[in-house]
């Protein structure tokens, strides 16, 4: 069974091919790359290096967000087009859960974090179970402050994972003190192989045509419309 995994939900790019539970190849890059330029070439290169023809792919896992709107759309568009035209199952995996997998051996709470600007974050809280992660707090877009308050109440050791954690390290320390641990650089890279591992646990594949990113946030235009409508009431 050959799996292709793609994660372009944020500025890092990761592509992986897993064959019969062996990670054949994985390219993960933390460099700021243009996913539109680099994502599909990375998929092609991984297939070429692993000597795999596109039709040999049996299943596709993709990071469905949250994250960069454009980034996540590129990964999802590539994944759903491949899955549809190759007629293979498609699995969407949370970008946060996939990132949290880097802390899967941590005995405590795992908090993956993606910056969403203006002191907001995309985040979730997970706890490792055998081979999987259970959500203590679901994926969401929230104020960093709100997240830290929740974690304080949970009063357990927390491991923060993700490249963007740096941006908020001092605030996190201030609020959580020695309750908190920070993952090292090796653990901050989202890995497409983690997306594949999580996809393998899924009970059901996605409906390919209607599969869309998990933005976890409505657009500004929609928010304004809601505001306008509620003002009229």
């Amino acid at each position: 069974m050959i799996w292709l995994g793609i994660d372009t939900a944020n500025s890092p790019l990761s592509v992986a091919i897993v064959k019969d539970d062996v990670l054949l190849i994985e390219e993960s890059s933390m460099m700021k790359v243009n996913h539109s330029l680099r994502a599909m070439p990375a998929v092609e290169e991984a297939c070429r290096k692993a000597s795999i023809m596109p039709y040999e792919i049996d299943a596709i896992a993709v990071s469905e967000g949250p994250g960069s709107y454009t980034g996540v759309r590129i990964g999802v568009t590539i994944a759903k087009t491949l899955a549809w035209t190759l007629d293979k199952p498609l699995y969407g995996v949370s970008s946060l859960k996939s990132l949290a997998m880097n802390g899967q051996f941590f005995y405590g709470l795992i908090c993956p974090l993606i910056d969403a600007r203006r002191s907001n974050v995309y985040s979730a809280v997970y706890r490792a179970t055998s081979g999987d992660l259970a959500a203590v707090m679901e994926d969401q877009h929230c104020a960093l402050e709100e997240l830290l308050e929740k974690l304080k109440k949970l009063a357990e050791p927390v491991l923060f994972v993700g490249e963007d954690v740096k941006l908020h390290e001092s605030v996190i320390r201030e609020n959580l003190g020695d309750q908190v641990l920070f993952a090292s650089f090796a653990m901050n890279v989202p890995r497409a192989s983690s997306a594949i591992a999580l996809a393998q646990l899924a009970e059901q594949a996605e409906k390919v045509h209607t599969f869309t990113p998990q933005y976890k946030r409505i657009t500004e235009a929609e928010a304004n419309l809601v505001k306008k409508e509620s003002a009229h009431e």
Binding site: R38, A39, T70, I74, T81, W84, T210, T212
Partner: protein
């Protein structure tokens, strides 16, 4: 018997998700267009982020439908042609990445098409192009006069210096309080009106083929202000008619002049505003008088569609043009010749 060549076209440059299969560059086998007008109407215009979100929802459905209607398999195709630019970057990226993935999965060549070249080649789907040819491209984003000496050879002789014709239409529609998309409504009001308000025409320099519509738009706004300041009300029909006459007049006169100067064998109109009935009537009458063949595609081929991208893609494919998976969306892409 020569083998037939089928090209899959994909277009997502603005608010239409479209896919089409075209045979030998001239025959539409299928053309699917999923429009976002209903959703974008709520916002009074195209919101780029929403356009991108909707493209992701539609893209594989639309491509599947195009192949199903054509009763073809990916292996029957020669190449995949996709709009590379210009357009909304986030919207372009959906079509481009879908095209790349489809091309890779089915081991097909990928061709990046300029949106305006697509509009021009929409004409190839209704009759054979004869060169030299003059094309007037008018849409929400473009107002251009292009001379073609042969396939894939474009010489831009004039363009708008400010607003595109379609943009002016939409802005005036807003001034008149017409709902989005306003262009067609201005056309409808203008055609029904028996009177018109006189608005200026921007001819620019005597020998220029450039256009300018922002002054006209301001005149319409000023006119409304003046009337309302005196406690009166404007008659939208009369304003629409006057505005349309001004736009159509300038477009027609300049296109006729260019057609004569470049001694073209054929004049074509293309783009969303080429669906405008007032403009179609005016150009048809003017070129009938000049005895120069004039063509404009049916309305479904004037507005954005993927058949036109496949038609242009076919000519590029024949000329050996190939893209690869490093293709990026190019929002400000310039129209470049692929044949000199």
């Amino acid at each position: 018997m020569n083998k037939d060549h089928y090209i899959l076209g994909i277009e997502t440059s603005c608010d239409e998700t479209a896919a089409s299969v075209v045979k030998n560059g001239t025959e539409i086998v299928s053309s699917i267009v999923s429009s976002q007008i209903q959703q974008q109407k709520l916002f009074g215009g195209v919101v780029p982020e929403i356009a991108s979100r909707l493209h992701v929802e539609q893209i594989t459905l639309v491509i599947e439908e195009a192949l199903r209607e054509a009763k073809l398999l990916p292996s029957d195709l020669e190449a995949v042609a996709v709009t590379e630019g210009p357009g909304l970057v986030g919207a372009l990226l959906i079509g481009i990445n879908a095209a790349k993935a489809f091309a890779f999965a089915n081991q097909l060549p990928l061709i990046g098409v300029h949106h305006i070249a697509g509009h021009v080649y929409a004409n190839q789907l209704i009759h054979e192009m004869e060169f030299p040819l003059l094309a007037l491209i008018v849409s929400g984003g473009h107002t251009e006069l292009v001379v073609m000496k042969s396939h894939g050879c474009f010489e831009l002789i004039g363009e708008t210096r400010d607003d595109a014709a379609g943009e002016a239409y939409d802005k005036v529609a807003r001034v008149l309080g017409l709902p989005y998309p306003g262009g067609p409504q201005v056309d409808r009001l203008a055609l029904a009106s028996e009177q018109s308000v006189d608005f200026p025409r921007a001819w620019l320099e005597a020998d220029s083929y450039d256009f300018s519509f922002s002054g006209l738009k301001s005149s319409v706004i000023n006119y409304k202000h003046n009337v309302e300041q005196k406690g009166g009300h404007i008659v939208p029909e009369h304003v629409a008619a006057g505005f349309q006459q001004s736009v159509v007049d300038v477009l027609t006169v300049k296109t006729v002049r260019a057609a004569k100067q470049y001694a073209v064998k054929q004049v074509i109109a293309a783009g969303g505003v080429a669906a405008n009935q007032g403009l179609r009537n005016s150009l048809t009458a003017a070129f009938e008088k000049e005895d120069i063949p004039f063509y404009v595609p049916p309305i479904s081929l004037c507005t954005d569609n993927a058949a036109m991208i496949a038609a242009a893609g076919y000519e590029m494919w024949k000329s050996g043009v190939r893209g690869d998976s490093t293709m990026n969306g190019r929002p400000g892409m310039q129209l470049r010749s692929w044949n000199e």
